[in-house]
Each structure stands twice: as C-alpha cells, then as structure tokens.
C-alpha cells in the first residue's frame, strides 16, 4: 500500500543506535508519521471509489425525475426522499416494493434455513453412519457442486411446473435448497469433531438423533451462523430462477423486480423510484451481515474445541 511496509517497520528501530527496540503496541505493526496518513488516504480513496455509485443511487432516489435526466447529475440529495420511497414501497411500478421485499425475505430465509437443515442432516448421515453406498452418495452430492442452477434450469423448471409450484413460495425455495457446498462444509466440520465425543455420548446413552441435537448442533452454532449469512445473501440475490417461475407480479422478488421496472420500448423510466427500490433492496442483506457479523467472523476463523 505505502512505502512503510511491515518489513520496513521491523528494520526501523535499528537506526537509533543504542536505543532498545520498543515492544510493538498490542500486536500491531508500528506506524507513525507520513506512513500513517498515506495508509489512511489509500483506504479513504478506496472506500470512496466503491461507495460512490451507491451514493449516486441514493441521491437519485431523493430527487425528481427531471433532475436525473438533465445533466449534470446532482451530487447532493434532493427533497423528494419521502415521496419517492413511499411511492416505491406502496405502489411501485409493477408491484409494491413492500410486497416484493416480503417475497424476497421469505425466499431468502427459506433457502438459507432449508439449506442449513438439509445439509446438516446429510452431512450427519455421511460422517456418522456406515450405510451401503455412503461414498457414492457423498460423491453424487459433491458432483452437483459442478453444476450451477443455470445448467439444470430447464429440467428443474419442468419438474416444478409439473408439481404445480409455479408462482408459489415452495417453487421459489425448494429447488434451491439442496446444497453441496453446505453439506461439504458441515462434513468437514463434523470430521474435526473427535470420535471420542460420539463414543462418550453413546456410553452416556444418547441415541444418534439425541447426539445430533444435544452435541453436534450446539457445536456447529458458529458454522451455521456463517453459513446463514452467506446463504441468505445467495437467496436474496437469486435472479434467474424467480424470473423464470414467477409470472404473477405479486410473487416477484425484489432483485428481479428491479429489472422488471426498467421500461420496455418508449416508456419513460421512473428512475427515482427504481433507485429507491435498489436502495431498499440493499438494506436487508446489510442488516443481516452487520447483525450477525460477530458470529459470522467467529464461524469463519475459529473452530471451537
């Protein structure tokens, strides 16, 4: 980033002859003077670079339609915030955004929770039970990792349509619930759990499901939280699948809903409302990430023993 990298900081104390090297404060690499400011400058520029489009979207959601169309684009928020947001939430363009947000929330929660439940159970089966074809099943699950939703979307659509699940929550959720990634992750975690723990539970008289609920589940808490965050965002950002199977605007999810708002042909796009919708669509994932940050990071870095 800057000219003062950690190596330079290590070498630095040698210049003051006779002065004993001071211990570094709290495991941080010592930085002072210009290096500190340059580092901050770099970070600030980076953040600004990434944040600017979001800021523009926010500004656009607070002004009138004409202000956006007429160059130059305003850089400061206007006075239409309340009008634009309430219009988006209550009436929207095809469907009210509040409804689409609710649909998305149901879908994202359903996918995240469903995936966690299914993959916990299948990982439990694969790791703790010896049944014929165990390895085959594991590799079959693992193989589906190679196939993204898009590849199998036509047959999946066919199946869902035949079950009459088009335009329904079950149609939105069920086909996306099977998760090789999550199964694999829990399998790896379960394999680090010492065998003696399962044996101790057996000696204590716990049947397999009791062991699962009393011991394995609480131990996987942080992993579940980390996975929940990732899967919630995965579910929230689903675009192609809801686009295919929901034709009724009242079942639209927010991410595809934004796309549906774009005008076709000669219609005039209502950019302030679209931008307000975009900003609204970002809020739930952000809330989930921030809310579960502590658990999430612990789940990624620490394996509780």
């Amino acid at each position: 980033m800057t000219d003062r990298d950690p190596l330079a900081a290590e070498v630095a104390p040698k210049r003051g002859t006779g002065r004993p090297a001071r211990p570094l404060p709290d495991g941080m690499v010592e930085r002072r003077g210009a290096g500190l400011w340059l580092t901050h400058l770099g970070l600030i520029v980076g953040v600004a670079f990434i944040f600017f489009p979001i800021w523009l979207a926010f500004v656009a959601s607070t002004v009138e339609q004409q202000a956006i169309v007429r160059p130059p684009m305003p850089l400061l928020p206007g006075d239409q915030l309340w009008e634009n947001y309430s219009r988006a939430l209550i009436s929207g363009i095809n469907a009210p955004v509040a409804l689409m947000l609710a649909n998305s929330a149901v879908m994202a929660l359903g996918i995240a929770l469903g995936k966690i439940v299914i993959s916990l159970l299948s990982a439990f089966a694969i790791v703790y039970f010896r049944f014929p074809g165990r390895r085959v099943f594991f590799w079959l699950i693992f193989l589906t990792l190679m196939l993204p939703v898009e590849v199998r979307i036509v047959p999946t659509y066919e199946v869902v349509a035949n079950f009459g699940m088009l335009n329904s929550y079950s149609g939105l959720i069920l086909p996306l619930i099977a998760s090789a990634t999550a199964t694999f992750l829990f399998r790896q975690f379960f394999m680090t759990v010492p065998d003696e723990l399962a044996e101790a539970a057996r000696v204590d008289g716990a049947r397999p499901m009791r062991f699962f609920f009393d011991i394995l589940l609480p131990m996987s808490r942080t992993n579940m939280a980390a996975l929940f965050v990732i899967l919630f965002i995965y579910g929230w950002n689903q675009y192609l699948w809801p686009l295919l199977i929901t034709t009724d605007p009242s079942m639209n999810t927010i991410v595809m809903g934004i796309r549906q708002m774009f005008p076709s042909g000669d219609d005039i796009a209502n950019w302030p409302v679209i931008m307000a919708t975009s900003i609204l669509a970002m809020i739930p994932p952000v809330v989930v990430v921030i809310g579960m940050q502590r658990l999430f990071i612990r789940g990624l870095v620490e394996s509780e023993k």
Partner: protein, 335 residues
C-alpha cells in the same frame, strides 16, 4: 458392582486379527490394569468391553450376562477417555449430568449425585465453567465425575492420565486408586505406562501383540514373568538378556534373563564373566551402570547409590545368584 468375564475373546478388522483370544475373569470390585506397548490391542480390548467395538468371536459377560450385542448404555459401564471427551459447549455440571438426564433421572436426584461427585473430586467451584476454562487436571476430574455420577457396575479407563504432565499424573494416579477403593467399583484400566500398572493394579494383564502374555498380581508378574516379553516390558531399567549358548554354562533355554538389581559388580578374579563400563548413571539413591561384555552383549547393573562407581572404560567382573536367573526358550516362553 459386578464381575466381568472375557471368554476367548477375539477381534479381527477385516482379515487382520488383532486380538488372538483373551480369557480373563475379573472379580467384583477388582482393579485390573491392561498394560502393553502401543498397538498390542489393549485399547481395542477395552473398547470391546465398552461396546464401542464389536466382538468377532468369544463372549463378554458382565455379571454373568452376555453383553456382546448390547449397546454401551445397556451394559451399565462408564468410560473415561484419553482426551476426556468432554462436551465443549456444556458446563461442568451439564457434562456430568448428561448421562443421567438421558436416563430420565429426576432433577433433584441429578443435582444431588453431581454435588456428591463434585465434592469427592474437589470440583465444586468449577461446576458452572466450560471445559476449555479448566486445566488438564481439572478436565480429567470432570471426566472421572461423569463416570462416577452414573454409579456404573464397571469403570473403564482408556489411558486417562497420558495427557497430563508427570507430576499431575502421579497425583491423579493416587486419586484414582483412592476413589476406586472408596467406591469399590470393578475397574478395567488401560495404560502403556508400567509404573501406573504396577501401582494401580490388583491384578495386571500384560498384552503382547493381541495376546495376554501374563495375568497376575503386579509383584508376582515382576518377580516371576512367564515370557521373555513380560520380563523385558515390566521393570525399568529392563531385564538383561544374555545369549545362553555364549555363556557356556547351565545352557538351559535359549536366553538367560537377569534383572539389573540382581547383578553385582565384583573383582574380576571372582567370576568368569566380565565387561567394560560403557557409562554410569548416578541417580542419587541408586546408580545404573551400563556394561558391555567381552563378546559385545549389553548388561545394566543397578546398585545402591552408596556403592563406589567404577570408572568409564574400566573392566570389572559381574556376578549374580543362580536363583535370580530366568531362562527362556527360543519361543520366548519361560523354561
């Protein structure tokens, strides 16, 4: 409280035979230690009694009833694992209470039993803590407590002290012995440490490559080993083995074993066997002198610390009483 009987118990993993038929009768309240080098099948044997490994052949009976097919929980046993296997997300209290909770014991009964066990093990101040907030010795006690609260017929210990430092090991060894005496529960204890075996056991089982070479009281096993393996494994420093043919006299069996404490250093003129001193280890109370005989065999002598220590490289004679000799056939059996 119960007896445990192993009747020609065998175990095979696939085609590999690991236990070649072990017979053992454990009396009620007896403390049995199974000792042997790693890979001799001692842990497997214990796990078969626990019900964590299936029995390939033979029969295991607890209190006369065959338990080969019974689940661990139905065998009325409790086990202490080498790495303690405490449930990391549960408090010490919950760890000890878990088995009782599953068995449907009333809450006040659980509280009473855990309190009693915690009292015995000096764990009262730690009942609310998680296992990771405890020291190794305390974790060890919780594992013991978990076994005690269930009031089982048999305690099974799988190298419970091997994760502790030397000082703590000695202390916990004493505590386990005291506790077992107090509770009078039949116990089966697996270890690779012969000192643990000697000090804890009422009777010990010396395992060698899937066979019980000898079963007997520790001092009997020590003074009267049945095989060359037992003579070499029990006792530190180990028994000296000399090639009987090369000694040229009393050629009974293939090898002659003599314990280091039975060998004396004597003036060269008084004996027909001598050697050069390789090095000496003065330990204070006693001195270990390592010698090499003229034909290259190694012999260790253990003598009182007050005796003079010969110089390194000096030659001296060695002698022992004929009654201390142990003779072993080529097969390793005592003759």
């Amino acid at each position: 409280m119960a007896t445990v009987t192993l009747d020609n118990v065998r175990k095979a993993f696939g085609k590999t035979q690991v236990i070649h038929g072990v017979d053992l009768d454990i009396a009620d309240g007896e403390f049995i230690v199974i000792v042997g080098p790693s890979g001799c099948g001692k842990s497997t044997l214990l796990r078969m009694v626990a019900g964590l490994e299936s029995v390939t052949e033979g029969e295991i009976r607890i209190d006369g009833a065959r338990v080969n097919e019974a689940e661990p929980m139905d065998r009325d046993i409790a086990m202490v694992f080498q790495n303690y296997a405490l449930y990391p997300h549960m408090s010490v209290f919950d760890n000890m209470a878990y088995g009782l909770k599953i068995a449907g014991t009333p809450k006040d009964e659980i509280a009473r039993r855990v309190a009693t066990a915690a009292g015995m093990l000096q764990l009262e101040p730690y009942l609310k803590r998680r296992p990771r907030e405890l020291s190794g010795g305390q974790r060890q006690r919780v594992a013991m407590g978990r076994a005690i609260v269930r009031k089982p017929a048999v305690f099974l210990f799988d190298e419970p002290l091997s994760n502790l430092d030397a000082k703590l090991r000695v202390q916990m060894r004493l505590e386990i012995k005291t506790l077992q005496r107090e509770l009078g529960v039949t116990s089966l204890y697996v270890t690779h440490d012969q000192v643990e075996a000697m000090t804890l056991a009422d009777r010990m089982v010396v395992m060698n490559a899937g066979r019980a070479d000898q079963i007997g009281r520790p001092l009997d096993v020590y003074s009267n080993p049945k095989t060359e393996f037992v003579a070499g494994f029990i006792g530190s420093p180990p028994t000296n083995f000399l090639d009987a043919a090369r000694l040229g006299r009393r050629a009974k069996g293939a090898r002659l074993g003599i314990r280091p404490e039975h060998v004396r250093i004597v003036p060269e003129a008084e004996t027909d066997l001598g050697g050069t001193v390789a090095y000496a280890e003065p330990l204070g109370a006693e001195t270990l002198i390592h010698l090499r005989t003229l034909d290259g065999q190694a012999i260790t002598v253990r003598q009182d610390g007050a005796h003079p220590i010969p110089e390194e490289g000096a030659t001296c004679g060695i002698a022992w009483e004929p009654r201390d000799e142990m003779h072993f056939a080529e097969s390793g059996q005592r003759v």
